[in-house]
């Protein structure tokens, strides 16, 4: 019985060692030798057992000693293997954790208290305008976004993010902020980051449903500099954010310093009332957001994307409205600026719908040319966007994760999208603050698109947008009049990699 146990032990040990290639090479030969010796001993013991009755006790004692020696060798091997394993485990605990996967490149300390991640976003677009007027925006390929994303954690509770932007026409620091995670419910972020107002604006760039965000985003702040208290209560049932910022014009990114002494308060409350319930409305999210502050100067008016003067843009990033009064007058922001936005979304299975309404009210002042007057301009916009994932995956605010990525036996996920949006400029803007002959008083846009999520990192998108305008379209060869002279019909494509 003892012989059998010993042989079994050696065999088990041999199998275990075989499972560890590093050990197997060194010790396989030793195991073979041990097995050979066991066989020899077995023969000896059998012979001795036969001779025991005849009184050859000396030989029996020698055999017993051999057995003991062999037993020791096996035990030593086994113990050394245990110690090797313990050492490996100890080293693994102390080793840096390095990972390279679909979420980027990360190096972390063994206890997870310190972590550095390198992520990135690249979006290459094309735009083709159908039946556009001469002098209109160019049909072109565009490097829309090109961002290395550096982020991480230090001392367990402090997260940081640094995102330069190399896409578009200028290089800028898009985000640079430090976040103290006291708890999921109470976090404090300071630096440059998105102001908590626009629902679609707050959606991460690689996960946004369309190539370009809708008209309401023209009225919400983009990245701003400030400090914000925020958190998720009840595992995301109740979300809040409230902060004080330098304040930026609609759809503007902040520069790295403030142009005036005025500040802006911004905040958002967003709830998922049925998140923890087994309900049809589990994917329902409702919220309100807004800002209140004072803004002055021309740079506190909306972004000048697609034109020269501050104004609003279409899906094709052409300017359809500008603060461009006649007679060489200049319009600047001159005080109170507030925004209010009820918003919400609903996702169930493959279906999703997102809607928001925004009103942005800015006090403006006409300078240089009489009449030098002021006005409070209330601009309004709204949109409803729907999506349906044709391949059956779940639609969500955070994009679509293909169930069967391309190259892994599947073809990725296909998502059909559609949106209708309107932006209405305050009648009081005309004619003292904007030329009604060139700027549109309102824009109406619909978009249909198809997102092909090849995998978690790569997405290809194609869309068609048509925008129609009321007003504008007069003489001239620059935006906004050249844009508003006819409806905008634009086909856009995007190839995106994000990790």
């Amino acid at each position: 019985m003892k012989k059998q146990s010993l042989r079994t032990l050696i065999v088990i040990l041999g199998v275990q060692l075989g499972a560890h290639p590093a050990l197997a090479d060194d010790q396989a030969e030793l195991i073979k030798q041990l097995l050979k010796r066991v066989e020899e001993l077995e023969r000896t013991v059998e012979a001795l057992q036969g001779n025991r009755d005849t009184g050859t006790k000396t030989n029996y004692a020698i055999a017993q000693q051999w057995m003991q020696e062999l037993d020791q060798k096996v035990k030593v091997l086994e113990r050394n293997r245990e110690l090797d394993q313990e050492e490996k485990e100890a080293k693994a605990k102390e080793a840096l954790k390095i990972s390279v996967d679909e979420r980027g490149f990360a190096v972390g300390s063994p206890d997870g208290s310190n972590l550095i991640k390198l992520r990135g976003l690249l979006q290459v677009d094309s735009r083709y305008f159908i039946n556009d007027a001469t002098g209109n925006a160019n049909d072109s390929f565009i490097l829309r976004r090109a961002r290395p994303i550096f982020e991480g954690t230090v001392f367990r509770d402090f997260d940081f993010q640094f995102v330069p932007e190399f896409g578009g026409s200028t290089v800028q620091i898009l985000e640079a902020n430090l976040n103290y995670r006291y708890s999921p419910e109470a976090q404090l972020r300071i630096g440059k980051f998105k102001s908590p107002v626009g629902l679609e604006q707050l959606q991460s760039d690689p996960q946004a449903m369309f190539i370009e965000r809708g008209l309401p985003t023209d009225l919400t702040p983009n990245r701003d500099l400030g400090v914000q208290l925020w958190g998720e209560v009840g595992e995301g049932v109740f979300n809040y954010a409230a902060g004080i910022f330098n304040g930026v014009g609609d759809n503007r990114n902040a520069s790295n310093l403030d142009a005036d002494d005025d500040k802006e308060f911004a905040g958002q409350i967003f709830v998922h009332p049925f998140k923890k319930a087994d309900s049809f409305f589990q994917g329902l999210g409702l919220g309100v957001a807004g800002s209140y502050g004072s803004q002055r100067g021309v740079n506190s008016l909306p972004a000048s994307t697609g034109g020269i003067l501050p104004g609003f843009t279409t899906d094709g990033q052409q300017q359809f409205f500008a603060y461009n009064p006649t007679s060489n007058a200049v319009v600047v922001a001159d005080g109170l600026h507030w925004r209010f936005s009820p918003q919400g979304y609903f996702y169930r299975g493959s279906f999703g719908v997102l809607g928001e309404y925004v009103i942005s009210s800015q006090k403006v002042h006409r300078t240089v040319t009489a009449p030098l007057t002021t006005g409070q301009i209330d601009n309004k916009a709204w949109q409803v966007a729907v999506s349906y994932v044709l391949t059956g995956e779940d639609a969500s605010y955070k994009g679509v994760t293909p169930r069967r990525p391309l190259g892994s036996g599947g073809c990725g996920a296909l998502e059909l999208t559609g949106r209708y949006a309107e932006l209405d400029v305050d009648d009081d803007a005309f004619p003292l603050f904007s030329d009604p002959a060139t700027s549109a008083a309102s824009a109406h846009s619909f978009t249909v698109g198809l997102n092909w999520w090849l995998n978690k990192n790569i997405r290809a998108t194609a869309s068609f947008s048509r925008a129609t305008f009321k007003g504008g379209g007069g003489a001239g060869t620059t935006p906004p009049t050249i844009v508003t002279r006819q409806p905008e019909n634009v086909v856009q494509t995007r190839v995106q990699i994000s990790f």
Binding site: Q72, K75, V76, E78, R79, N80, L83, E86, E87
Partner: protein, 339 residues
């Protein structure tokens, strides 16, 4: 008694209990003693006795938490931020490193308490299997071919360094200070070691529970404890003719204790180890007491042998560490030549 009176009384009682509990917990003092592997049982008793004495003296409740591990590893944890009020380690060198690298206590910490801050001592002895089948009586017997010796790795274990230095010191004495012979002796010693555990407790496990080896070289207190608790009647203690006086030191981690407001109680805790009660507890846990009265009381428990100190033979811990255990030192050289 009507309902309202009952409710009022109940509320008052709850409030009083709450206030009393808040008062009591506010006075609780917590100490962390970061120690090495074999002192678990010793400090369990020391902590209970000191807590009783401190409460009787001051009315304050003191809770002493223990942390145990390899001595060097424990020192690194303190350097890395483990808030130890006191350290009670295997080697003075490990506390020197804390003083030098983290500056949490003065460099002359060893002068702050009597007997080089070592309230009790031990030595290095042998534990053999019942009947001493390999007839091991002294260090020379460990060199014989076929004798399997269990000792942990001096690179990772404070206890193992004492074992190594004890063997080296014996060889030096025997050869009248011939370093080459001492080196040869220790090289042969480690040739007979089939398993190098990372700590003293691991080596004890290897010898007692796994049944490996003919002799375990280790702390006297650990060997006595092993006989008592793990292998009654299965093992025997062998005391060599010569061994080293092991002086496990204790120290107040001054900066941590000051920050936590525990300096007075932590200092009193260490001083308690020198009192007759503390010394008796140490002796009961097989550590050799310093106090004469306790040493006499427990004299029969500790075999007499010729003991040398690390200062006498090696010129102190710093020098011994640098010569023998630093990377590329004598131990590394011996291990390479033994391969």
């Amino acid at each position: 008694m009507n309902f309202q009176k009952t409710r009022a009384l109940l509320l008052k009682t709850v409030a009083a209990v709450a206030l009393l509990s808040a008062g009591a917990s506010a006075k609780d003092i917590k100490l962390l003693n970061v120690s090495y592997d074999p002192t678990r049982e010793l400090y369990q008793d020391v902590n209970a006795a000191f807590a009783r004495q401190w409460q009787a003296k001051t009315g304050e409740k003191v809770i002493i938490q223990q942390s145990h591990g390899g001595s060097g590893k424990q020192a690194r944890s303190v350097i890395d931020g483990l808030d130890a009020d006191v350290v009670t380690l295997a080697l003075a060198y490990d506390i020197d490193v804390i003083a030098e690298k983290a500056r949490l206590l003065p460099r002359d910490w060893q002068k702050r308490l009597p007997n080089n801050s070592a309230p009790y001592t031990s030595t290095i002895v042998f534990l053999v299997r019942k009947g001493n089948p390999k007839s091991i009586k002294d260090w020379d017997d460990l060199m014989k071919p076929g004798v399997s010796v269990i000792t942990p790795n001096p690179k990772t274990s404070g206890g193992a360094r004492w074992n190594y230095l004890a063997a080296w010191g014996y060889a030096l004495k025997k050869s009248n200070g011939d370093e080459a012979k001492a080196r040869e002796f220790v090289a042969q010693f480690f040739k007979n070691v089939p398993v190098l555990d990372t700590g003293a407790r691991g080596a004890t496990t290897t010898f007692i529970q796994r049944g490996i080896g003919d002799v375990l070289v280790g702390w006297e207190n650990e060997a006595m404890l092993a006989i008592k608790e793990l292998g009654q009647g299965k093992f025997e203690l062998v005391t060599p003719s010569v061994s080293i006086l092991a002086e496990p030191p204790v120290a107040l981690v001054e900066k941590v204790a000051a920050k936590r407001g525990t300096k007075a109680v932590a200092q009193a805790y260490l001083e308690f180890l020198y009192t007759p009660e503390g010394q008796e507890i140490a002796a009961k846990h097989h550590y050799r007491p310093r106090l004469e009265s306790a040493a006499q009381k427990f004299a029969a428990d500790f075999p007499k042998l010729d003991l040398f100190t690390i200062d006498e033979v090696f010129g102190g811990w710093e020098k011994a560490q640098k010569t023998h255990f630093a990377d590329g030192g004598v131990f590394d050289q011996l291990q390479r030549s033994n391969r």
